[in-house]
Symmetry: D2
Subunit: 347 residues, 4 copies
């Protein structure tokens, strides 16, 4: 028997990606999709690549009919909108994977600082599991509410977890230079994200501070066992998908490249989606496109002593919808990779 799922906010890129993956998940049935702009119309009007799914018709968020018997709801809504819906869903007995930022930060004051608004459901924060299965699998398994990580944090945490947890690097000197494809900016009409503005126009943005910073710091602090801060600078790539994070680190010990690789290898030995590349190979966003994989590479610069860890994911898959499906699989006791088997699309 298939579990019943709802996707709230199905006409954004994350929503569309959830449909792409869940429509082919063998233990799932999509029974409810919402879109305010396309309410009452087939989803394929908004997403012609889903032309083969004529049966999916969008509803408004306000139309709660049919939401009663949902086993799990994926909230692919903007922050603020999400925390307005989640309490209702939980009250219905529906488990929730929330893809917004609303339940990722444990501390509502930090939420307020970075998002400029009070949290509307602070009582739910203590129970929300941070949905990075590689770090929080058992919490996720039993959670009613899973906060799916941000795309940048996913790429950074997978790169740094083995090193911070092992105490191998200086937590005072963490520089993260990240680069993301444009799909991370969403699907709303915008001048800044027109093809003409982006093509050939690589640039940094939010250099003075990006909202994913406190999320990265929260999780890295947990790993390091002490409060730490990171310098995080995001950039916008002229490509639709993919994140590459270049992490510049100071090791506390001298190790060879092979030894650093071995540390990563050992940490992720049993993880289906994290792959440490062999020496001489550097991660490329195109090599994980459309898949739930994370590729890691490590280099040590013997001249200066700096250690560099490189990490790539598809921001819409391991950075959003794929990880959400992975979380659902964990929550419902399914094989963790179900529905996520497809290999990367290259070229």
């Amino acid at each position: 028997m298939r579990i019943k799922v709802a996707i709230l906010g199905a006409t954004g890129y994350t929503g569309g990606e959830l449909v792409r993956l869940l429509a082919r998940h063998p233990q799932v049935q999509i029974v409810h999709v919402t879109s305010e702009r396309h309410a009452g119309k087939p989803l394929r009007n908004a997403f012609p690549h889903l032309t083969s799914q004529p049966e999916l018709v969008c509803r408004s968020l306000e139309d709660k009919k049919g939401l009663e018997n949902i086993d799990v709801a994926f909230c692919a809504l903007p922050h603020l909108a999400s925390m307005r819906e989640v309490p209702y869903l939980l009250a219905q007995g529906t488990r929730v994977v929330d893809l917004s930022a609303d339940f990722r930060l444990h501390d509502p004051l930090i939420y307020r600082t970075w998002y400029g608004t009070d949290h509307l459901a602070p009582q739910l924060l203590p129970e929300a599991a941070y949905g990075l299965p590689e770090l929080h699998r058992s919490n996720i398994a039993s959670a009613r509410l899973v906060a799916n990580p941000g795309c940048y944090p996913t790429s950074v945490l997978l790169a740094l977890a083995p090193l911070l947890k092992g105490g191998w690097i200086d937590p005072e000197l963490l520089i993260i230079d990240s680069k993301s494809g444009v799909s991370g900016a969403g699907r709303s009409a915008s001048q800044d994200n027109l093809f003409t503005e982006i093509e050939g126009g690589f640039r940094a943005y939010k250099v003075e501070g990006h909202r994913h910073t406190p999320e990265i710091e929260q999780e890295l602090s947990l790993l390091a066992g002490a409060d730490l801060r990171v310098r995080f600078v995001p950039h916008l790539l002229p490509q639709s998908r993919g994140i590459l994070s270049t992490c510049h680190l100071r090791p506390r010990v001298v190790r060879s490249q092979a030894e650093w690789q071995e540390i990563l290898h050992t940490f992720y030995h049993d993880e289906p989606f994290v792959q440490v590349l062999e020496a001489g190979n550097w991660p490329a966003t195109s090599h994980v496109r459309g898949s739930n994989y994370c590729h890691l590479g490590v280099a040590v610069d013997s001249r200066t002593g700096w250690l560099t860890v490189l990490s790539v994911i598809d921001n819409l898959v391991k950075g959003a919808a794929g990880q959400a499906v992975q979380n659902m699989n964990v929550m419902f006791g399914m094989k963790e990779g179900t529905g996520l088997e497809q290999l990367p699309l290259f070229p």
Copy 2:
């Protein structure tokens, strides 16, 4: 029990795409992959997006060991190389899906005219089935040797078959203006296909005559019941995947757009991979990316009387590897869409 497959020429784009699809096909086991350049090395050295498949190790074509018990071989070799291998495979009792041009043309003289060399296995031409399941399904089912269609011909034949077979259009005035992504040019080092030469550099090529022309004419002539010729002009798009063919046609009758759509709809009613878009929607290559779908659109220009049929496919999937898998499914009595379920990757 899974059937055993070999992929000859696994490190080109078509070969890599065959691996991507067949590695996830539930009734298939890849037991043999070849690459001259990477013989003896893991396939993932050539294709880092296949890092998760360390067990696939390339062999040389000359190393026939292990080829004895193959159920079906996919030849993703260049033309000429292919017709040197196919007779051996058939003699072993292996069925063959050949993705080169070598067995598509029924007439060896036409082959010689367009490919500039004598055919080395003309005795096999009569039995080779032309592998477009939508038109030749029963031949394919029983064939030892299936000639997988070219990418351009696939896009054109699916657009024109309903109209030519129905006698609706003038077979004397067929203008096909096609545009292809760069992956169609293969993976060999080349100055012409460097990123820097292609980005922002749309152009036509082989304007005086492209080798896919006789293949298109052969199949369209069969449909029309008479010899015909087409004007076919290919262009190169600054994108990796996708073909769009714009077919300019003279109708023999006056019909509305809705009626033309209905003709296409009816023809493809039971076809899982051909989708006729609703009025007002035009096919886009991004809406079939990574999938085996073909999207069709039709417009009638009442001012001039010209009919336009637009067709898009992913040249590496429905135009090559996906169609080859579809053919294999037909040959072995499997459900035709097995292993081809994944939805297009957008954006």
Copy 3:
């Protein structure tokens, strides 16, 4: 002494391109630029690539101060807005190069049919010169009002003029399959033109009829000496700049490729901006990028008898701002190529 120019609508792509060219024109001084959205602010706020031009400050269209002594105004406004401004400018004694569609069509009824609104200044239509210098140089030289051609029409007219004027081709069978970069769609926020929607997503649009059709027909009819119609199908390329038009034609006579080339060569012998490529070379949009050149290529398909003429321009230069500057040079008796000397930017 420099002539004084105004640019109305300076923050769209065409306006920005006018600034790029005119700021370096040795006989011109930009004294007035307008933008409703950026009125009162430096132009470089809207266009950081013009950071080196801090002295250009945007005004509102309504602020007519400073417009009195303008020698020539470039209207880079949307249609409708343009014909509201032009009468005032002319009344001031300012000559006008209008880059909108408002004064291109001689017949106000045809304007109404295609633009869905009455023309507001039909009295000016008889005197408006159609600003393609290669065809209408002497009219332009003496005109108060020049209607700068559309980007598609420029590419098509330069390709077909020698053949239609010479009577070499059948005016009943003109098929024009054009492909344009995204900058042609303007700079307004839009979902359809987001990078993510365009990358890898080649498609046709307005297949049932595009507004540049009557403009093409008007000018081709003049050349042919008889009313004719064309089938014109535009497509959208995943690149910012460039138009390639593929013209499929029926010759009335049998000629070799070299002879067709010679016909084009002869026609454009003295034209500084139109270049007929040598045999075996096909025009590419990247080879005219940023320049005012048009490259032409011609192929004859001896099997079918179809003649193909290929034409590329940069839609923002020869298709808009560059041609406008060329027109201005003609109008003011300057050397026609002044300010347009720069060579194409490749890669």
Copy 4:
């Protein structure tokens, strides 16, 4: 009277860019261009965007005829090839701007370490001026031999010079995360740089050490007045042109963003090609495309104390050919911006 220039290696991207700029330089005449592959043929065969320059015909390097009366030669040859040619040119009395790496490093031992070969003309190293006019203008003015800086070093040195020279930042903690367009990799046929491999495939490369590192260190050490080392990690962008360097720095003092900007502003006050963006604007590669400008931005992260300086250039212009022309202008007492006036091409 125009000075006579030669361009050695005219069919690579840097060579093509030199032709683009020098063909329009009012005080220069290109009298000699070389290409081994195209010797004896018009340059426009190799570069169709130069179709309008039919008079430029390539010669072989070995053909020294016509080289006698050259005023200045631009060597756009690979390293090693360059230092074989330069002594001959100097002996002829020709001044040289060398765009290879051969004369940038003052210490032949460092050259040997990074380039794996002995220097063939170490006697010339002491007199070679490092061709960054913003730092070494007077040396350049009188030099026979100017070593044009690498593209990455140009972007980094312009970003860091004011801060290191002023003693404002810690020279022990310099992390430079750079991203370059593909044209930096040259025009040779290559699988790695095919469009299909690059599109959507952002990645780092030479993470363990790139040859531009010692050049950066040499010049920064001069500025700091002490030997220093940098951690430099280059990445490859899916775009043809542009470099963005993100420099992560530790200030020695607490300053506001406005104060940091003011430091940069003051340093570059009289420089025509270096522009410090206003607060809230971040440099984008598209905003300097095709021009000789460098845009700088600065951000201070008050939470962590890190200072970030961002720098963009067009790698083929300010990072190569444009800077070479700027150097020539300095060497011959011309106005420094001559031939470099054109504004960036956007979009």
